[in-house]
Symmetry: C2
Subunit: 311 residues, 2 copies
């Protein structure tokens, strides 16, 4: 299990509801077996500079808590991603905290205004994103998807799908689906151009698809999501901790390339043959547990396989 990152490990849990004592199953093509059979050239290395490494204060038992986030590649959300790089290089998040956790919703951290927040100026170069808002917001997916021959975003066509994509099609581009579990977005004020990236959240529940086109997604947690999803839920306004002493301290946030030993991850190319097969098998499960395969699959249940790479 140690070479497999968190998200891939989740994909491994297809034995789901099998009693531990009876976990043997017949040989069958499974999502895992498809991933295991992928060829080395189908895996894409994630550059260290595209990783955001967040170290939280150790837990009550003194265990380290590292959260690794992959930043979203072009063409989407790049103004925010650039802000985030600048903030990381400035060590801007060090000493901030995870201050808001809402069950089936988000864990949120970083900057903020008012009582309980450290007042600190944004580094030079971090700008509001109003100018590029319309062209860079994540769910320009819609027009992009059209260009690429993929599905349109569902909100362009209420009443049409994407939860159960027909076999062989998928809504992935460059290794990314839409706003799913563990994805990271830019918290903002009411006006859509108010988010800089200094305040971020990770999804810890069912995919909040209603936020498509309303929020910029900038990355996804590829290791350590459990350090956010298991945090106590906040009981104050909007899930902020009533007693801010309950915040989880952020020791540091760094781009991977600033670390002496950058984490090394790779993902299964979403344009590869193995990924197409993986989607097909996820839509038509053949393992013994599934009596009636669905014939389709929710895009957020097709976790992109991500694993730790050899150095």
């Amino acid at each position: 299990m140690n070479r497999i990152a968190t998200i891939a490990a989740l994909a491994l849990s297809y034995q789901a509801f099998i009693s531990p004592a009876a976990a043997q199953e017949a040989e069958a093509v499974t999502p895992n077996s498809v991933v295991a059979a992928a060829t080395p050239d189908e895996w894409v290395a994630i550059a260290p500079e595209d990783l955001l490494v967040m170290d939280l204060a150790p837990d009550a038992q003194g265990r380290a808590r590292r959260v690794v986030i992959q930043l979203l590649p072009p063409p989407f959300s790049q103004p925010w991603v650039e802000n985030i790089r600048t903030l990381a290089v400035a060590h801007w998040w060090d000493g901030t905290s995870v201050y808001r956790v809402v069950d089936n919703w988000v864990a949120q951290w970083g900057g903020g205004e008012g009582e309980g927040f450290v007042a600190r100026a944004l580094p030079e170069g971090v700008v509001s994103t109003s100018e590029s808002y319309s062209v860079h917001l994540f769910c320009t997916w819609s027009s992009r998807n059209r260009e690429h021959g993929f599905f349109d975003c569902p909100f362009d066509h209420p009443g049409q799908v994407d939860a159960y994509v027909p076999l062989g099609l998928s809504g992935f581009i460059n290794g990314w689906p839409i706003h799913c579990y563990a994805h990271v977005g830019v918290a903002r004020d009411l006006a859509p151009d108010t988010g800089t990236g200094a305040e971020l959240y990770a999804v810890i529940g069912h995919a909040p698809r209603q936020l498509d086109r309303n929020i910029a997604v900038v990355g996804r947690v590829i290791a350590g999501i459990e350090h956010l999803s298991t945090l106590p839920r906040g009981t104050g306004d909007a899930g902020v901790y009533e007693d801010r002493a309950a915040d989880t301290l952020i020791l540091s946030v760094r781009l991977g390339n600033e670390l002496a030993e950058p984490p090394t991850f790779e993902y299964l190319a979403t344009e590869s043959e193995s990924f197409a097969r993986y989607v097909e098998i996820r839509a038509n499960r053949q393992d013994a547990f599934y009596t009636l395969p669905a014939g389709g699959v929710d895009i957020c249940n097709v976790q992109v396989p991500i694993r730790r790479a050899e150095r």
Copy 2:
């Protein structure tokens, strides 16, 4: 907030990504305002005998942890629901544990076989469900929906929707959608008729729609889901705790009517006018935060409003 149960409270968190310091927003029709305006006759009381009250051992700070589950009403999954009533009346789960927690997947508890499990016979009357499997499995939703003029289940029509239901339609029956966050299902072995209900799980991540028609859903957590979703994730096989000393002890599980003070809850009737309006507003958010309403909504993002009722 104290009259609102957990699930309804989640629905309240629509202020989502608004900075705490700027949480004021313009007056607008919101999912909350629709629910607040519902008339008393649109709320349906949940009978105490339809509640399963699970008390976990106190947490590390000595705080009580109560999980309240509403059992699924007819016509679905009733053989399992009857088993569960029998098990609760026999106090069968007392002294068992939550032994398996997988991030973005499930928390699982109760019976089990092999090392680390208490060997105990099932009470008389608890039977395997093979005979009724085909007619009672939850996703006979499919044919039921057709009868009721609702959508067919998506697996009957790969490539068609249910994630974004057209305005005014919904897949709810008697207050229930499909297999969503916090829903409770019957863990089983490989054969579909092996689950009795003695081993149960709650969904703590994105809705596992691939399990539709393969697993019996028997209820939903309506209060205290956070006591399951924040548990440490298991690192052993299939997410079972490697060291079973990490299990969370179940002090007791009772039907609501066996308690001196039964919890009293009510839900907003899914056939009510207010619920129809609530779905419409969830699909077309008008609050100031939403620049581009989706024009549709994933059924698992339409949490049925549930609240504590006055005694």
